[in-house]
Symmetry: C2
């Protein structure tokens, strides 16, 4: 059994760039709309739902039933080859992310771990390997923007001979 221990790094748009977008308003350019009453932080994430494959963007919500404690094991990762997937927390709560760039076969040594500042959302590029959504509290809500449409859009990979753990 190979053991890999991933330290959670602070989430920044620069560090996360190979995996997708960080959705945040801190230090982001913005402009006024509605006669100056509203600031718009425009086009923060590249929603890619594969319209060539008949995909369409959908808005869903996810709510946490069960908490995870840190350090936590990562027994499975998944990818959505046909579309991007965004998660935005609806309350101030950190996102825990274990990700690797798109690849045909999973290489456990290529994963990175990030923790958000609580206000950040993220958008995975199509095909990015990632740990399924977890939460450290129950009842947390996340807005989800991803793809619906024909085709198989979820591959899972279970780690057999590798134990990946993420920790603070």
């Amino acid at each position: 059994m190979i053991k890999i221990s991933l330290k959670l790094e602070p989430l920044t748009s620069q560090a996360f760039e190979p995996f997708g977008d960080v959705i945040e308003t801190d230090n982001v350019k913005h402009f006024s709309i509605n006669a100056g009453t509203i600031e718009r932080y425009h086009d923060l994430a590249k929603v890619d739902v594969g319209t060539d494959s008949g995909g369409r963007a959908i808005i869903s919500m996810a709510c946490s039933n069960e908490l995870t404690e840190l350090p936590a094991q990562v027994p499975v990762v998944e990818r959505h080859p046909l579309g991007s997937q965004a998660f935005i927390p609806m309350s101030d709560s950190p996102l825990f992310l274990v990700v690797a760039e798109p690849s045909e076969t999973v290489d456990a040594k290529k994963f990175h771990a990030f923790v958000s500042n609580g206000r950040q959302g993220i958008n995975y590029r199509p095909g990015v390997w990632h740990m399924p959504l977890i939460a450290l509290k129950t009842g947390l809500k996340f807005l989800v923007i991803d793809r619906a449409g024909p085709g198989d859009n979820c591959d899972e990979h279970y780690f057999d001979d590798v134990e990946i753990t993420m920790h603070r």
Copy 2:
């Protein structure tokens, strides 16, 4: 000057159906994902960004600079003929909505006013006439999912001889 006074009605998915979707988890069907740790409230809003017209869905944020007090006048309404537009409050804060079904010319008598329960988001169908986003507090954040792409996707209508007011 014709005066129209609109009482803010409670927002429900049934009442709002001609204008779009209500994005909420209360009394909505859901199913478990991620080995039962997460409940998913699936496909709550029809994102329609006119892929025929070269549109793509984008995720943005809006933040309120200025507050509005009730009763409030509605001097202008707008529509986005090429795409839907969703607003989801990032904190518990009501949305104030003045809407009319798609039509070539604006008829001030056809407008309805709604107020959300604070946890609800909404998604306007393409072409629905609506009051621009307002807020009763400054610093409120809203997630926006709408269309980017070629074409003119914002028509405004200013009321000259009609005074529309919304009130509780």
